[in-house]
Every structure is written in structure tokens, then in C-alpha cells.
Symmetry: C2
Subunit: 262 residues, 2 copies
């Protein structure tokens, strides 16, 4: 994948001006990329509480002030209406539009939630010398709905979604400790080993993403996945919701390393 | 101080029945004790966001469903109206009453916030062999308002309050790592050394609590303090608020050790 080593500020300027509208993998390496969910203030309390109660699938990086388009903690000066390459607009829980800026959709009662994403802990895993098959193969990670229920909050409830990476036996402990340092990006695995124990019936058939081989001497390791909050929010059919399009993330000014808990 | 080694469930039963109404230091050793702030739903979004933005002074352990008196995550079966030894009732930001149960004050629109407290990390410090002067002397810890502003959220804003413990030079690093393991109980120190750097003008004159001597070869180490959220909430003069009385905490069923982040 192509690497763009410029500061996120410069990359966001290209996105804002319309020069770039692609997926963000490989852009601004070393900086935290974020999932985005935007909801009206009326739904924001329940969603904030849902994230607080389910920090592994829903690690909050930033919650904007009502109506504000600027995530002052994660990227001062950025504009969340224009600085993501692609957005999805949902009405009553159904996809209504896919656009490259949301100026026409913005309202004074909207709250934006930025949530950590797996790029950060995958960087930590690779930095620790752990190979990631979906990265090597250039495909998407495998994801499943599990039998683990999130703790509900108000109108929001649903199962946890996980991603799976095959990890060589001798590197499982390292994969746990390396990712545990980043609770702001899903943290330690939710489960190590037997897929059936968390309701994953067929590890060769993911619910989302691409299947990858689990070789002899490898263990399937499962992490909570940022698909969870979007899936949960949409399942409750909110009247209005904006999200990033899959793979088209918000690139923050936060270095991955500064997200480390210890 | 007297130690009551029974399970928190039994201690809470004594508190509920009126058998016990004193301070909770030494009760249920090994279990997390929590600060409590109860606010109407109208103020709860801003307060929840304030906690999310300021996790060091405001580490959330549990947020109840609107109107519910049961903190299902922290102590299933408990009743927050009766299971704390002593409560304070505030009206328009002023102390209106101090009572041993709040059944007469409970309303269907109330949300209870339970926040981690310093007992947990003090247990971790002592367990690591670090002496705590205020515990040895049997007095209260020293606390100050600082020049560090919390990140505001809606109607809530104000300075961070810290507690200070003198730590022997050679134990400072250990004090940092031992407390860092417990982000749910204020985590690592906010500041190590020079009090003036965080706006503490006279380290012999605390704003709250008791002064303790800093001996030669000791460093003043400052942790974010659970007085912060109450001070911040009261400064905004909410129409109605219930808190625990100082030292009269809610004793949860969560073992201190299970609050460890790593």
C-alpha cells in the first residue's frame, strides 16, 4: 500500500479541497486514525453512555461540543464536515447517501464521536515483530458478530463485533501485551483461541471482510472491533446519523505512541 | 483504623439497616470504594461528557440507568438510596441537608455516577512497600486546587483538584508505575516535584485535608483527586444534586485487583 508520510494536517487539507477521496490506510503513518459516528444531541447521551459501558469495542478518542465541527482535542483546526474522504448518511437506520463532504447535512444539534481504530494496535503488533496476514495479503481483516452482548444503554444494545488475526503460537503473549497498551484502540484481545466459545461458528466464513488462512501452529486471536458501535447505532434506527465510509477514516494529530496507557 | 474484613454485601446490609453510619476507611479491604454524584438527567449528559474528557480526576466506575437505584455493574442488588452511610443534599449548589438515606429525595429522573477513589491506588502503593504519611499519622490527605484547568463540557468547568503524598526519592518511580496500573482510581500522578509548577503556592497549607511534613529526601507527588468532580459540579450550581458525605463512600463488589488495566 502507498505510504504518505506528510503530517495529518497537510493530508486533511488535500481531503478538504477535494484532491483526495480514497481510503486512508497508509496515510499519515504513526498518527491515530478514527472511526466517526455523528448523532443528534437527543441520541447522544445514550450513545455516550453506551461507549462508556463498552470501552473495548467503543474506545472514545473525542466527543465534540454540540454543533461544533472541530475536534479540538484530536485535531485542532480540523473540520469534521470536510476532512474525511467519504461519508455515509443514514436516515431511520437505512443508508440514504454516500458523499465526500457533509456541509449540506450538518445541523446545530449534532454531536460527533471519534473512536479509536485497529490501525493503532496493528501498528503496535507489527512494531513488535508480529506478522499480520491480512496486511501481507493486502485484504480486509475478518470480522464476526459474536455471542457476547454489549452492556446496553438506553436505546442502544447489541452483540459485540470482533476482528480476528491468526497469531503464531509463540507470539500470542506478546500480541496480548503489545495491544493491551492501547485501550484507546480496542486494547487487549477479547478472546484467544476456540472461536466457538464466543459464538463464531465458522472461522473460514467471516460476517464482514475477507477470510484468511489459519496455519498449523497459529492461534486465532479476537479483538473488539469498531464496527460494533456503528452496527449497534444503526440497529436502533436513529432518525439521522452520519458515519465515515468504511476505510475512509478521520486522521487525527495524535501520535499512536501518545495513546499508550503505560 | 479498625478493619472490617467481611464481604461488601454484608457491610452494605449493616449500612442499609442503620446499624452503621460512619466513615468507610478500613471497611471491606481489597474492594473498590467509590465517590458518588447524583444528578438529574438534564445535567447528566454534560457531566458524563465532563468525566469522559477528564478521566484522571473523574474515573467512571459506573453510571446507572435513569431512575435506577441499582449499580448493576459495580454491586448487583445494592440500593444507592440506602447503602451509603451518609449523604449530602445540595440545592442550587448549596448544602441543604445531610442524611443517612435518600429515599425521600429520590426521583425518577436521577442518574448516579460512581467514580473511583484514592483508596484503590493507596492500597497499590502500600502493597508495593511505599509508606503513606497521612495513613501512618491517621489524618486526612492534603488537597489543593491547581492551575490546571479541566477540559470543560457544557455547563461544567473548573480547575483540577489534586492530593499530595510525600514519597521517598528512591520510591518515586515505583509510586508512578504502581498507581498507573489503576486508571479507574486516578491512575499515575499528574505531577512529580515542584508544587509551584501546578499552582500550589504553599505546600504546608492545603486547601482541604491536613498538612503533612515533607522530609529531606522526599518528593511531593500529586495525583488527580475525586474532589474535582464534586467541586466542578457544585460550582455550576445545579438545581439538585446528591453526593456521598466526605469519607462515607459506596463500597462496591469489585476487587481492587480487577480494576488493574494491565
Amino acid at each position: 500500500m502507498p505510504i504518505d508520510p506528510r503530517h495529518p494536517r497537510e493530508i486533511r487539507a488535500d481531503i478538504r479541497s477535494g484532491k483526495f477521496a480514497g481510503i486512508t490506510a497508509g496515510l499519515g503513518p504513526g498518527f491515530v486514525q478514527a472511526n466517526m459516528a455523528v448523532l443528534p444531541r437527543d441520541d447522544a447521551y445514550d450513545f455516550l453512555l453506551f461507549c462508556q459501558r463498552n470501552p473495548r469495542p467503543c474506545p472514545l478518542i473525542e466527543v465534540t461540543d454540540v454543533g461544533s465541527v472541530e475536534p479540538v482535542g484530536a485535531a485542532a483546526g480540523a473540520d469534521l464536515r470536510t476532512d474525511l474522504p467519504r461519508y455515509r448518511i443514514y436516515k431511520d437506520g437505512a443508508l440514504a447517501d454516500e458523499v465526500t463532504d457533509v456541509k449540506a447535512f450538518w445541523r446545530d444539534d449534532l454531536v460527533a464521536f471519534l473512536l479509536g481504530c485497529s490501525f493503532t494496535f496493528e501498528w503496535a503488533l507489527m512494531d513488535a515483530g508480529i506478522p499480520l496476514r491480512h496486511v501481507e495479503r493486502g485484504c480486509n481483516v475478518s470480522m464476526w458478530k459474536t455471542s457476547i452482548d454489549c452492556r446496553p444503554a438506553g436505546r442502544f444494545h447489541g452483540p459485540m463485533v470482533v476482528s480476528m488475526r491468526p497469531i503464531p503460537n509463540e507470539m500470542v503473549a506478546k500480541a496480548v501485551t503489545a495491544s493491551a497498551r492501547f485501550p484507546g484502540a480496542h486494547g487487549a484481545p477479547i478472546h484467544v483461541g476456540d472461536p466457538a466459545a464466543i459464538g463464531v461458528k465458522d472461522v473460514t466464513k467471516p460476517d464482514w471482510g475477507d477470510a484468511v488462512e489459519i496455519k498449523r501452529g497459529e492461534v486465532p486471536v479476537f479483538w473488539a472491533c469498531g464496527v460494533t458501535p456503528q452496527a449497534v447505532a444503526l440497529a436502533s434506527k436513529p432518525a439521522f446519523m452520519i458515519t465515515h465510509s468504511p476505510g475512509h477514516m478521520f486522521i487525527t494529530d495524535i501520535p499512536n505512541s501518545s495513546l499508550a496507557a503505560f
